[in-house]
């Protein structure tokens, strides 16, 4: 592969076909390893048999019907979507503000603050869950929805900060200077110049925040109310007792939702960006 790019001494050692083929075959197998499980889930969700059956006989939507008719699944699905949307709002607003402050505020100890805000990325989410659980036990507040939401926001903020900071570092500040010199106030400059320019980073962070919250398991495990669980927790509990493809249908729905969020946001906002610039 690299051999093809040699400019100066071409043909000294012609790339023999077999090693390139071997290299690509290995990688194709590895991609298969990565994709296979997801394809299997999609396959089982439309397989009519109530057990694992391969190859499948026929196509059926009965597991989707069962999923959408299940009160437990629907309640937790709704809770997960609500939670993810509220997490997106909270994490995006607070995270973008923090990113602006970190890059431009010339804060004392900015490096330490950045490390603090990014640490939920690297520390096990389970520890944050346990810590919040202990705090709520100590404060004797039970397991409130806002407690779960705050946990999700804390976990999601690093993603927003990271993507926004990356955009801010490539930001050409002379554009803002120009706006200021033309008489725009700081607020107008921020709204008309800064915000549109950092928007791709903010939106990328918002997408991450949604997916992280929607798929969150270890943190939610400690903070959900029994009987009012998020979708991943309900699926996990179901899996421990039952193995029928309702889980495959639920998985397919959540994969589709995550994908839809990514594609939709990228399409709508990405296009708008092109139109505006």
């Amino acid at each position: 592969m690299t051999g093809a790019m040699t400019g100066t001494r071409r043909g000294r050692r012609r790339p023999t076909a077999w090693d390139v083929v071997a290299y690509r075959t290995v990688n194709a197998c590895l991609v298969g390893f990565l994709l296979l499980p997801i394809l299997v889930v999609l396959l089982f969700s439309i397989n009519p048999a109530p057990f694992i059956q391969f190859p499948p006989h026929g196509v059926s939507l009965r597991w989707f019907v069962k999923f959408f008719n299940s009160r437990d699944f629907m309640a937790s699905f709704r809770l997960s979507v609500e939670l993810a949307l509220l997490t997106v709002v909270g994490a995006t607003v607070i995270g973008t503000m923090a990113a602006l402050a970190l890059v431009r505020g010339r804060l004392p100890g900015a490096g330490f603050l950045a490390a603090l805000f990014l640490s939920p990325l690297m520390l096990p989410a389970m520890l944050t869950g346990l810590a919040l659980f202990q705090l709520y036990v100590l404060l004797d507040v039970g397991r409130p929805f806002w407690g779960l939401l705050i946990g999700h926001i804390v976990i999601a903020i690093p993603y927003v900060i990271r993507t926004t900071v990356a955009v801010l570092h490539n930001f050409d500040r002379s554009l803002e200077e120009a706006a200021r010199n033309l008489g725009a106030s700081e607020l107008v400059t921020f709204r008309e110049v800064t915000l549109p320019l950092i928007r791709p980073g903010v939106i990328a962070g918002a997408i991450f925040a949604f997916v992280v919250s929607f798929d969150q398991f270890p943190l939610s495990l400690f903070l959900v109310n029994p009987g009012q669980e998020t979708l991943p927790i309900t699926m996990f509990n179901y899996l421990r007792y039952d193995f029928d493809p309702t889980i495959a249908a639920a998985s397919t729905v959540s994969i589709a939702l995550s994908l839809a969020v990514v594609l939709l946001l990228e399409r709508t906002v990405g296009l708008q960006d092109y139109v505006k610039l």
Partner: protein
């Protein structure tokens, strides 16, 4: 270039003075949130692990090390720790072996289309939740699963091979879940290695394999170290996969932590002590990771 234009245009002296405090203040909400709901709770965990009881319910509590003594004094808990570390190590090595070829190809692909497709293939597992992915591996590896059905249909075995409810199945699923992190870390590092270095080695007579082994591989060592630290840190804190794939045969540190607050033995102090051990190991790995990445990226490790 930016500095020059900024220096020229930013001649009016009042601006930097007014902007600085204003934008710095934007950090306040995040600071309050992290202070109250991240740092404080972790401090509470540390405190409860060192106290004899709940300080709110019972004001006459004292300090104790008994939770930590219980951990190191019992072979069962040491065995759990060792299982956790062993699974983490196995996962890391396997993720490296699988992740390296993918990362190498990803870093060296020149066509944007293929690059994008491969990147999407690598990232797509990250789009699906951890429960979904673990379920997928259950359908593949269980006794009636696809792999066992296929093996029996091919006549390779007459009874199911134990692929699940053991460490093998757990490691397979963990590798699948965390290999994207390895690939992303490695791709960044390999992508920065000038391919002409390998070309040079080859034009001096080295074979393809030798060129790779003596040039590219050593230069990508920081990526290997960083990716391994990351995957190790992630896999020792996994909960869903060991519990479902291990089927309660395997007890790891995170499973033990959750047992302390969910089962009949509600013990916040011991849960706290276990959590502190996990936190200490994770922190150490994080610090090492950012050291390595800072050296390769040339500053700004926190980006």
């Amino acid at each position: 270039m930016t500095t020059l234009s900024t220096a020229v245009i930013a001649a009016p002296p009042r601006r930097p003075r007014r902007r600085r405090p204003l934008e710095g203040l934007l950090v306040v909400p995040a600071l309050l949130l992290f202070g109250g709901f991240f740092v404080l709770p972790l401090a509470v965990v540390l405190l409860t692990s060192l106290l004899t009881g709940n300080p709110v319910a019972n004001p006459s509590v004292g300090f104790t090390l008994r939770n930590y003594q219980r951990l190191v004094g019992d072979d069962y808990y040491l065995e759990v720790l060792w299982t956790t570390l062993r699974l983490g190590l196995l996962t890391t090595v396997a993720a490296l072996l699988i992740g390296y070829p993918l990362a190498h190809q990803l870093a060296r692909l020149r066509t944007t289309l293929w690059r994008t497709l491969l990147l999407m293939a690598v990232l797509s597992p990250m789009l699906t939740g951890i429960v979904v992915r673990t379920y997928a591996w259950m359908t593949l590896l269980s006794n009636q699963g696809i792999v066992n059905t296929a093996l029996q249909a091919l006549g390779l075995t007459d009874k199911p091979v134990g692929l699940m409810y053991n460490e093998l199945g757990t490691v397979i699923a963990l590798v699948h879940i965390y290999v994207p992190f390895m690939v992303l870390t490695l791709t960044g590092v390999i992508g920065r290695i000038d391919p002409r270095l390998e070309e040079a080695a080859r034009s001096l007579g080295a074979g393809k394999l030798r060129g790779f082994l003596e040039v590219t591989l050593p230069l990508s060592l920081p990526g290997i170290v960083a990716g391994s630290l990351l995957v190790f840190a992630l896999s020792i804190s996994a909960y869903v996969t060991p519990i479902l794939m291990g089927g309660f045969e395997i007890i790891t540190l995170p499973i033990l932590i959750y047992q302390q607050i969910s089962g009949s033995s509600f013990n916040l102090g011991f849960a706290g002590a276990l959590a502190m051990v996990l936190l200490a190991v994770s922190l150490l790995l994080v610090v090492l990771y950012s050291r390595v990445m800072a050296r390769t990226a040339g500053g700004r490790a926190w980006r």
